[in-house]
């Protein structure tokens, strides 16, 4: 692994030098003080002082709705027009881990070209972060990244320590080598280690993810699920914000005045009511409790056997988003036998409404 240094003043000149005709996505602060990933031309819009964006960066690769192919009477033509060269700057370790998990998922058995081609055209420039009370990435062991990025910027006051994670990352540095310094001083190294130690201590939420597969199994018929089901609004928000959710629907959209259709792929959510409906009006998961069980089986249990780690990367988005406090944190804590006071208060209020 190669490590270099970049003065903060040199950041924008560096981004300018590497951007070319690629689209550069970075965190931007919205009016309501929340952050989103957006394409930026004016780098001064970038705000790196954020914990999590509302939507996960998978939206940049697989937008909420895009054309998979065009269908006419006797011809089908792939449509990859939404895929272009992109750079994501400022992505945090949990979201990089989510990309690695989705890489495995989208390559499993049959390769999904819409994800994999978009990935090939993507440069990932990671950035260090600081946890809040909803970050669980230390528990999921996704708070540091060893692979999956091209460059990773760690903020040390007036300087970035930049880890080079790929040969493409190395090429990017070579676009403007004069902006970088090769040698880290002892003070730099000391600062880096100190920062890491302080950050590790800053995590306040600890979840025993290793126990979750067994607990999901043992408590599959626990009354907890009925209570959660009664409170859940089936709004699907938890699914839209989760960086490792993959479900989608396909729609045939005839193009007005033409003899072909756009076949569109659009985000779906297993927490929504119609998700498991089949012909004849049968619905395999009519109950909200059953849909939540599926979601939490996915997040806490199933990926462990298939990919060796849970699907949850601890980003805390579901915690920040669910209007009735059903999220990985409260559900995992409840499964682990801890009653979370405010959660149960809220839950009983929702249920008796």
């Amino acid at each position: 692994m190669k490590i270099v240094k970049l003065k903060k003043d040199n950041l924008f000149p560096f981004l300018e030098a590497i951007k070319g005709d690629a689209e550069l996505w970075a965190p931007v602060k919205k009016d309501d003080a929340k952050h989103t990933f957006q394409p930026v031309d004016d780098f001064s819009q970038i705000d790196l002082d954020y914990t999590r964006t509302i939507l996960p960066p998978r939206k940049i690769l697989l937008p909420a709705k895009f054309n998979m192919y065009q269908a006419s009477k006797s011809e089908f033509t792939s449509d990859f027009s939404h895929i272009s060269k992109k750079i994501i700057f400022g992505i945090h370790p949990c979201d990089i881990h989510a990309f690695l998990t989705m890489d495995k998922f989208y390559s499993y058995e049959i390769e999904d070209p819409y994800w994999l081609e978009a990935r090939k055209n993507l440069v990932l420039l990671g950035h260090s972060c600081w946890p809040d009370e909803n970050c669980m990435c230390k528990s999921t062991n996704t708070h540091v990244v060893e692979e999956g990025y091209d460059l990773f910027f760690t903020d040390l006051e007036d300087t970035y320590v930049v880890w080079i994670g790929s040969s493409r990352g190395d090429d990017l540095i070579r676009e403007k080598p004069e902006l970088f310094e090769e040698d880290l001083t002892d003070t730099d190294i000391q600062k880096f280690i100190q920062r890491r130690e302080n950050r590790d201590k800053a995590f306040t939420t600890e979840i025993n993810f290793a126990a979750m597969p067994d607990l999901m199994e043992l408590k599959y018929n626990d009354a907890l699920w009925e209570k959660l089901g009664d409170a859940c609004l089936a709004c699907g928000s938890c699914t839209n914000v989760c960086p490792t959710c993959n479900c989608y629907n396909v729609e045939d959209r005839p193009v007005l005045g033409k003899d072909f259709s756009n076949i569109q792929r659009c985000w779906d959510a297993c927490t929504l009511e119609n998700y498991s409906g089949v012909a004849g009006g049968e619905n395999f998961r009519e109950k909200r409790a059953d849909r939540l069980k599926l979601w939490y089986t996915h997040k806490l249990q199933s990926y462990i056997s298939k990919y060796g780690k849970p699907a949850c990367v601890g980003c805390g988005r579901c915690v920040a988003t669910c209007p009735v406090d059903i999220n990985v944190k409260t559900v995992a804590q409840s499964l682990d036998g801890n009653e979370v006071d405010s959660f149960w208060d809220r839950l009983s209020k929702e249920v008796t409404k």
Binding site: D21, A71, E109, D112, C247, N249, I263
Partner: protein
């Protein structure tokens, strides 16, 4: 970073192949038979599938849906389907005529474990639309008659007019290397010469079943499963030699859209064929 943007995905597993409807006719009021051929002759012949697999059929303007392949891989070139009118895709499909185009993707799913079935007695129990996947099993076993022991077929329908493949099966039943029993819940024609009663009333007719050497295969409406499984267990057929196919909503067929999940199993990849033993481990089914 100025590189030309050109996506060169070698193959797109989501892209259907244009195919023509060669023949279509009604089997019952709301179930039609479709014989389809992939337009590209080479691709038509290289479309290799196994019994119990399914394909996605797309109809322009309506969308795509999964259907069991009803023909047998022992007769390549043409694909046959047996389809009930249920909603958007199937209604539009029913309006199409011979020579019209549809799209085909597949084959998908695990299919039946043919190697494990070889040398065994095969007991096929089907009802209603269950005939769609199990016709493929039946025809395959008959085309490869030497590979299997006894072949026993139990087929049930509500009324004679609703029995799928009635004439074909009455014909097959005449073979002396097959034990075939057809039944209807009720005969409203007065001309039905076979059994009357639900499909489980056929079980007492079965003689000298050697359970250890028997593979039981069942597909039909949900109520049928329960009763037929009980009959299989009464016969002492081992749980891992009882095979069934499951239906779920499917949007992709290739393990990406999530819709077919049962617990942590994707039915489109690991199913739709499961043994009774597999199914007893699925929490969402119990």
């Amino acid at each position: 970073m100025n590189t030309e943007n050109k996506i060169t995905a070698q193959s797109n597993p989501f892209l259907p192949e244009p195919a023509r409807i060669v023949r279509t006719y009604p089997l019952t009021d709301d179930v039609h038979f479709f014989q389809v051929r992939i337009a590209d002759m080479e691709k038509a012949l290289s479309f290799r599938y196994e019994i119990g697999q399914f394909a996605m059929i797309s109809v322009l303007g309506a969308g795509e849906a999964p259907f069991s392949i009803s023909s047998t891989p022992s007769r390549p070139g043409l694909l046959e389907f047996c389809i009930r009118r249920a909603g958007a895709v199937t209604s539009k499909l029913f309006q199409l005529k011979e020579n019209d185009f549809v799209g085909i993707r597949g084959p998908y799913g695990n299919g039946f474990p043919v190697e494990k079935m070889q040398g065994k007695d095969i007991l096929i129990v089907m009802g209603g639309l269950g005939a769609a996947p199990l016709r493929s099993v039946l025809l395959y076993c008959l085309d490869n008659r030497d590979l299997f022991g006894r072949i026993i077929l139990l087929h049930g329908a509500k009324r004679p007019a609703e029995m799928l493949f009635r004439d074909e099966l009455l014909d097959i039943k005449k073979r002396d290397d097959l034990e075939g029993y057809l039944t209807v819940d009720g005969d409203d024609t007065g001309q039905w010469t076979e059994n009357v009663g639900v499909v489980t009333t056929l079980f007492p007719k079965l003689e000298n079943i050697n359970p250890e050497n028997t593979v039981g295969v069942v597909c039909g409406p949900p109520v049928m499963y329960k009763f037929v499984l009980q009959e299989f267990l009464k016969l002492d057929i081992p749980k891992d030699q009882i095979l069934m196919t499951l239906e779920r909503r499917m949007k992709c067929g290739v393990g990406k859209c999530g819709h077919c999940a049962i617990d942590y199993i994707y039915t489109c990849l690991e199913g739709p064929v499961f043994s009774y033993w597999d199914v007893t481990h699925m929490r969402e089914l119990i």
